[in-house]
Each structure stands twice: as structure tokens, then as C-alpha cells.
Amino acid sequence: MNPKNPPRASLLATSALSVLVFLAIWELVCRTGLVDPIFLPPPSAVLAKGWAMAEQGTLLGQVLASARRVMTGFLAAALVAIPLGIVLGTSTYARAAFDPLLSFLRPLPSMSWIPLSLLWFGITETQKYSIVFMGTFAPALVYVIEATRNIDPLLIRAAQNLGASRWQVMKEVILPGSLPQILSGMKVILGLAWTCVISAELVAAREGLGFLIMNGKEFFQTEVVVLGMVLISVTVLITDFVFRQIEHRVLRWQK
């Protein structure tokens, strides 16, 4: 057997074992009283709490509220950033015009938009969407511009030589040609969108996973806090998986 290429099953078993050992140690540390459950509840308590809340029907709503905010803000940012990025990536003048604004927006963390957005929109859904949009738009735009840079200039020449206009070059060559890189950028942006939503919810919200965590902390329900964190992680993993499937479908021309 090639030591560099062990079978998939044994790799999966190793991963599963590692998770179990981690959970066991965690459980043990809490059960033996080494750590006060007010600071860290055992995984069994977190699971039990999750089960109870799911049965009451108060859990799914929180997850969906956050997910809806993430998707709305993320899609809005992507829909503006992708076409704009392609134009900026191909036109030096448009780039010169936008560069100063972009350089100003880029270093601003999404958190820094929270006070303004609260002033403008109050504790509303629009405020959550705007936080995600402002937190992801500039980095998304930078990803798209970068992606258009890596197009083989020969393909652009070939397209022009076959009669493509400037607009057709953008639509038929630059967009599909930079799509792999745009999509992998968007995967990162999607993760960023989650950060934005959770931070917005931690500050001010009436529902959502961030709200769940904050609320748990207020009432010293540490298992709810941990449950919220676990749910964030799981939801991000699921969206990432879905995104990968879409990516795979769209990019079936790649080897």
C-alpha cells in the first residue's frame, strides 16, 4: 500500500475518531467538575438543549432568520460587484475613477457600519442587509477585478479577431473566463457575510443566531451560547457545501 495514498475509509475513520476523542475529553472535563458548567457546559447538555428547543420549534426560526439575512445581503453585493468588477477590470479609466472610493471602503470592517446603519434604518431587516452589503461589497469587487486580470489576453484577441465587440468580449470571454476565480472568491465572501450578520445580530436584533447567543449570555444559559456557535458553524458548512455543488455544475468544463 502506498503510504502517501491511504484508502479514503481509513482517513474518514481517523477524522471521526479525532472528533469523538475531542468530544469525550470535553464531556469528561465538565463532568468531573474541572470546569464549572456556567463557563462551559458539556456537549451532552448542549445537544439536549438543542433537541429541546428544536422540539419547541424555537430553533429553526433563528437559523433561517440569519440565513435569510446572509443570502439577501450576499446576493445583493454579488449582483452589483460582479458586473461592476468586470467593467473596472477591463477599463483603465473606470478603474481610475473608482479606485479612490474603493481604497477608502476596503479597510472598513463591517462592524464599523453598524452605528450608521442603526441610525438610518433602525433595528430592521434592511439594517441587517445593509451591514452584509457594506461588509462584503468592497472585498467582493476586489475579487472580481483580480479575477478579470488573470484572463489569458490571447483569448481576448481571439474573440476580437472573430468579430466580438467590446461588450461581447466582456460578456462572452471575460465573464465566463474569470468565473472560476469569481466563484472561489464568492465562497470566501459568503463566509464574510456570515461574520457580518452575526456581528450585527450580536449588537442589535430580535431574532437570529447572533441574537440567540447574546440572549443566552444575558440569562447565563451557556449551553444556548455554545449551541448558537455550533449552529453557526454547521450552517456555514452546509452553505459552503451547497455552493461547491453549484460551482461544480457551473464549471463542468474544467478538468
Binding site: 465587440s165 461581447q168 462572452e172
Partner: protein, 260 residues
């Protein structure tokens, strides 16, 4: 008809800063000629091709293709690149139909025309493959079909077979001859292989470097239709040694120029 000038290059020079890529090139290519530009690397062959297609502009002089002065990228001069330049996200059929799509030809009609050219280059059955699933020789066939489907006045080929293995190259040379005989398009072909030039051309132009210019204009009177066997004829070897002497002198001269 065959005397009509298809490409007219009038006193064209091209400088990049102080580097003279081309100096005072005058050249007329008649309709239906298969012209091979032959020369060592750095003699300005590719520069000349880029000027004809409109990718680049001459420093002085002018170029006229089929009666129209070239001042922007002209789809009437279809280009076949050495690196194929196929769109990796499009299938073979979509690549071949690309030019027609740009013209706004409806999909059904486009696929019909593309299908014809896919079959002409012997790729029937590969229509739905992506370029990544094709060999180098097949990719270059797609690239040739793509240009043919666009029905240009002139086909320009920039060392199209240089990246292919010897066997594949020979097959594609024969195919290109067959396509030329069938379509009677005006072709300008760049190579640094004397054999390739002799096998394909009706006329050979030998270029020299520093500054780039055309030094010899030789009519290739080997009979058409041709195939690889023409390489065994006495006339072939006669022409080959004649060209070799010129090329050798040019190569020596440019080697000396660089060593100083």
C-alpha cells in the same frame, strides 16, 4: 480573379522605441495565394501578422486588406494562434460557432454551419467535448474550423503546428493543404521550418532580422494538389537548398549582429 490584390502592405515600418521590428516592408498578396513567411525568430514575422490583423498599428506606411485600410481588429483576417486560443468553457461546436454568434446568427443556423466545419476538419463525434478533453492536434483543428466558419477573406496562421509532435504536424499540414485546395482562401502562414514552407506554400517570403524586412520572394512551383510525398521530388530539394543558402546567410548575419 487570382490577380486581384488581397493584402497590400505599403511601405510599412514598425518601431518599438528604438527597436526596428520592421523596416519599409512592401508586399502584395494576390487572392488565393498561400504565402509562407519564413525566417528565424526575431525577424518580425509575428509583428507583420499582428499589423495585418489590426492588433497593432504600423509606425508608418499602410496596410489594405481586400480594398479596406486596416485600422482596427478586422474579423476578415481570421487568425490561427500557435497556442490554439480556444475558449475552454465552450464545447467544440460552440467554439467553432463563436464568430457567427458574434454576428448575431441564430443558434440553429450557427450550429448547422459549425457542424459542417467540425466535420471538415475531421472532428465529427467530438462536437460536445470541451477543449481540455482534446489533444493538441485536435485543438488546432478546432481553431482552424473556428476561423473557417467565420468565412474570412484571409486566414493568418502564426506557427500553428510548432507545438505539435512531428506525426500530428504532418497530418495537419496535409489537412491544411486539402482545406486550401477546397476553399481557395488567401493564406499567410508563419513558420521557421523550410520543409513546412515548401510543402504548403505557393510563394515563400524569406525575412531577415534587424531591421525586419523581406529579403527574398520565391515562387513555389511544386505542383498542386500536394501531399507529404512531394518532399521526395528533385525540384523540392533544389528549392530547399536555394532557400537554405539565403536563410543560412541571414541567420549567420543576425548571430554576428547579436554577438557584437
Amino acid at each position: 480573379m487570382s490577380n486581384a490584390s488581397m493584402i497590400s502592405i505599403q511601405g510599412v515600418s514598425k518601431h518599438y522605441g528604438s527597436f526596428q521590428a520592421l523596416e519599409q516592408v512592401d508586399l502584395d498578396v494576390a487572392q488565393g495565394e498561400f504565402v509562407v513567411l519564413l525566417g528565424a525568430s526575431g525577424c518580425g514575422k509575428s509583428t507583420l501578422l499582428n499589423l495585418i490583423t489590426g492588433f497593432d498599428h504600423p509606425t508608418s506606411g499602410r496596410i489594405v486588406v481586400n480594398g479596406r485600410p486596416v485600422n482596427k481588429v478586422d474579423p476578415n483576417c481570421g487568425m490561427v494562434f500557435q497556442q490554439y486560443a480556444l475558449f475552454p468553457w465552450l464545447t467544440v461546436l460552440e467554439n467553432v460557432g463563436f464568430g457567427l454568434k458574434m454576428k448575431g446568427v441564430p443558434k440553429a443556423r450557427r450550429n448547422e454551419v459549425a457542424q459542417r466545419f467540425v466535420e471538415m476538419v475531421g472532428l465529427k463525434g467530438f462536437e460536445d467535448r470541451f477543449p481540455s478533453a482534446l489533444s493538441g492536434g485536435m485543438r488546432q483543428r478546432v481553431s482552424i474550423a473556428r476561423v473557417l466558419a467565420n468565412d474570412p477573406d484571409v486566414i493568418l496562421l502564426d506557427e500553428p503546428f510548432a507545438a505539435l509532435d512531428a506525426m500530428t504536424r504532418q497530418v495537419l499540414q496535409d489537412e491544411l493543404l486539402r482545406i486550401y485546395e477546397k476553399s481557395r482562401k488567401t493564406i499567410v502562414f508563419i513558420t521557421h521550418s523550410i520543409d513546412e514552407a515548401l510543402l504548403l506554400s505557393t510563394r515563400m517570403l524569406i525575412m531577415s532580422a534587424r531591421p525586419g524586412r523581406v529579403v527574398t520572394d520565391i515562387r513555389n512551383d511544386l505542383p498542386m494538389p500536394r501531399n507529404a510525398e512531394v518532399q521526395l521530388s528533385p525540384r523540392y530539394n533544389e528549392l530547399k537548398s536555394q532557400i537554405w543558402k539565403t536563410v543560412q546567410a541571414e541567420v549567420m548575419r543576425s548571430l554576428e549582429a547579436t554577438s557584437h
